[in-house]
Symmetry: D2
Subunit: 336 residues, 4 copies
């Protein structure tokens, strides 16, 4: 059960509410986000919610039988729109395109790509500055200084940026520069990081684990939400299967099912999701039809010489050509 | 290397060709299909194919480095169109819709559904009469008599039918009635069955194995082709993964990749591929954008009371509504 | 519910039994095997079996809540011993060693290996004569003639043989020669083949599917048993997972769980199960401790030059060394 | 290439070494651990290592073609023994038993279980105090205070303790109390945490990821080693597969293969690895035969009422019975 409280609920009314819930053997957890105050009541599944609905200080109450509460569409039936500021939104009916290199490499690159995005009216640029690498001997990113320059250039052009955060300690240093914090697949169940991201007010893009289930992804989102941050974007990025013909198996079933289960926006990453440049276009267009709220495309000014994962990066020209097809497909999908 | 021979190649020219190939240490396999005579030469990867190209009796020659030969797009670059007769085709630019119940249940059902298909201009009806069942105690189909009635009703309306064949012995009894022989996921590597289907001249729809790789699917198709039957349709039907939220994980990456690798048409089965009715529509539309040449939809006049797998069947009304969206999406995809 | 009938049950008693079951809404299936007559009654889960137990012609009755009936340990709690004839048994407390080449290659090989087995007191030799191959261009076995010679040589030495059957039509031609029919992973759900093997009286070794579940394996065994053949040996042979470090992931959890669930013997194939020679020894010994009733080892007189899968074959010397460790481990395990 | 340096290498000798490596286009990384100083040289695969071997200040040099360097058995061929202090070791020929509850629950529990371990001469107790939980609403552990008490009681009895660390910030607070830091499956590629654990001098038990490959596990170990900490224990804990009959699929192939590839000790967790109490005994004994250096058993004084995962916990009595079988099996395995 999710009980939405009035912001001005008195302490007496709150105590009374708790005592009633206590009487009915509920465990409770109070959640205060940017947008509201909620009391999550767990444990008693057969309860007449009208008992609560009429109490003072209670704005609304919903029985949510799902294991996931605050992220469930059973509670909030309309799709959530995430406000990035400056008239940029993700979800809520908008289709978002995020594009950029896997890793930020140098200043020249930032200029070339951000100019391209500006020209194409793409409003979010991706670029890693701290990179998770299987091997300790691989390139691990340009770090916080690279991020500062990245943010400086993009923000001048009214382009928002998204970059991966790998540990709690980096949230504050990165905070002034990033507009969306990305949680990578390997940290999808790094619960301390999720807790910490629940305490900030900037959006978080949460990737599905390398072999994460739909349930686990929603639970991880519930961590962030119940920590106090409602601004969550989910991201399908391919799962690990027996098939060796692609690096990951991009799972569009997950997109279609998540759109049934949650009010949060769902983005697809067809670049990492397949690892094969030729599959990016068909899987991007397929994503739109599966119900995605956006795509995250890896692109590079010179894919052959990309520092990481050049195999899956689109050139600027390929990206431009794909954008037109995306627009046509989005237009059709909205009419349906 | 694939050597296409003239139908009228003389026995002397053929002997000479073999002796040259022998000299260069090739193993050869002669393939005679409905459409041509081919000599597959294996083993010597560094060979100047012009030596062969100018010989008498040789129509054409292609070096094919792929493990798969006759099914490869490296040899036949344009998409294959499968002729079902009476102006019905699968592949080659057409988008095919196959619809019908999981199992044929009774005569009334055949009438209701075939009338619906006729009205909607859907030209292929599916319906199992021999059903593979995990448990020996489950319903196993209406058998050959049901098939006769099924064919009789559909053929009167110029609707082609597709039905699953589970063993070599049933090919001849089913032959007069079915227009496309379906090979199920569990028989995807039943090599004796594939060999036998190579000897007939009717189209075969070959499903990917329950956890079949792309490579294995193409090899299984190569069995049929090299056995003498070029009329092969591939079908993606969902793979087995760790994810329990859907019955299978429909893998559209496979569709996009198969379209790169083979000239054969690729059909998608979103009904069995997901096992969830709500996912059939988004995954059908996504399939089109991933490059599929058609979809196979499970439908039922009364899904709640379907004898098998009602959970994933669309009602007639749902099917009708989906058809309009399919048409709009196919129209857009063709323009791209 | 499984009702064991007396061999001499009168037709009147049988009719009465059926009419009672009918009254309680049971579906029934009569099963006559080499060893008994059973009536499987399905559908009514709340029924007092004593109503049946006292009827004339009824030998015994068991409520079996498992989905699997005749293969369940809930019905038959002691482990089944499969009689191969001539004092050779599989299961029932014996530990069986099956060894031999992947494919029978030639007569000399049969002599060398069968002599070795004789010397080492190994009583079952494996060897494929019809080989399932992903590619139609690979070696497909020496066929029925090779089998005749194989059987002739082994039977003279009182060695039993096991060989793979891939289709119903081959059961009769192979019947005079093989002592155990092997069903390969790709045919684990070839239900027509399973039905046909239910009608013979020789033992069947049934491999788990390439990504077959425990449930599916038991259902496939139920096909054979309910078809009339009780002599079934199960075989774990590695499953398909995301891990690329070995060809298959040999799953000993399956062995331990199968020993809980079924009375049938369970054999392990560590050679195909891992595809790596160095893993055969540790996984063989581990199999014994997981509860296996035997192992099937691939060996070759000259592994470097094996026609197929030499990478996983043991040499004669390696096999001999492993045998001593097997014996010590089996001795310890029996004491526990 | 791994170059072991003398502890007293002069700065001039070191400079000369670097300049030679530079000349041959090597990238280098200097690693200083508790036990030695190493220079890892990467990139040039065709190099005569004798050029380096004779330089001053160089103790030893090894060409290591594996992707993994410091953890590879190609460099260090004898098994590593990890010294826990007070005559307790893991690896190097010893078989270690770690036992205890999933989560530390209360003081009484610590006494009961540590007394039992003392009596049975088990020298390492496990117990989580910070628990990773999919759902934010689940019990998350007794925290650092619980850990203090846990350590106090165990250390008085000369029992070492192992407990899970989930984030870098907790390393220092936990440091005085734990003898082995456990990295859970969800943090197996939390590279910041691995880096931080490379800077301490206490042993680390590193679990394989939920669907981690052997390669990834070795790379993660390489992070810790190249960060400066040689005391690493690997742990197989079951992987995620399609099979639903057990919670995870314990993968003993991994154990056998890791023993070929690395000199680090490998422990098996059959409790989490299967999630089924009945499978713990057979899989524990099978682990020994697959080559494991130890097992980690989940046990509870009252499994029915365990706060978490009671389904897989052994009772004290079951643990005692298993210990005898472990000892007999280890004795046999050592003789082989």
């Amino acid at each position: 059960m999710i009980i939405q409280l009035n912001q001005q609920i008195t302490s007496d009314d709150y105590k009374q509410l708790l005592s009633i819930l206590n009487k009915y053997n509920f465990n409770t957890k109070k959640v205060r986000t940017q947008l509201g105050i909620y009391l999550i009541a767990l444990g008693n599944t057969e309860f007449d919610i009208r008992i609560i609905g009429n109490l003072k200080g209670v704005k609304d109450v919903h029985a949510v039988n799902d294991k996931h509460k605050l992220v469930s569409r059973k509670w909030k039936t309309s799709p959530t729109s995430i406000d990035l500021g400056d008239n940029h939104y993700v979800g809520g009916g908008d289709f978002s395109i995020i594009a950029g290199p896997c890793s930020v490499e140098n200043e020249a690159q930032i200029h070339v790509i951000s100019d391209f995005l500006k020209e194409k009216e793409i409003s979010i640029m991706r670029g890693g500055v701290f990179k998770p690498r299987s091997s300790p001997y691989s390139f691990r990113g340009v770090g916080i200084e690279g991020l500062q320059y990245f943010a400086h250039v993009c923000h001048e052009k009214n382009i928002k940026i998204i970059s991966e955060v790998m540990q709690e300690e980096m949230i504050q240093p990165m905070y002034p520069y990033v507009d969306i914090f990305q949680v990578g697949a390997r940290n999808s169940q790094n619960f301390n990081l999720l807790d910490a991201l629940g305490k900030i007010d900037k959006p978080v893009l949460l990737k599905r684990g390398i072999s994460g289930t739909i349930d686990e992804l929603l639970y991880s989102a519930e961590y962030i939400f119940s920590g106090g941050n409602e601004k969550i974007i989910l991201c399908e990025r391919g799962i690990r299967t027996y098939e060796k013909a692609y690096r990951n198996t991009l799972d569009l079933n997950a997109v279609a099912l998540l759109k049934e289960k949650t009010h949060l926006p769902v983005i697809v990453d067809p670049s990492h999701g397949t690892g094969i440049r030729e599959l990016v276009e068909p899987m991007t267009l397929a994503s739109i039809m599966s119900g995605a709220d956006g795509v995250m495309l890896e692109m590079h000014q010179d894919p052959q010489n990309a520092l990481s994962d050049g195999q899956q990066s689109l050139s600027l020209k390929q990206t431009g050509s794909l954008l037109e097809k995306i627009n046509a497909t989005v237009t059709l999908h909205k009419k349906m």
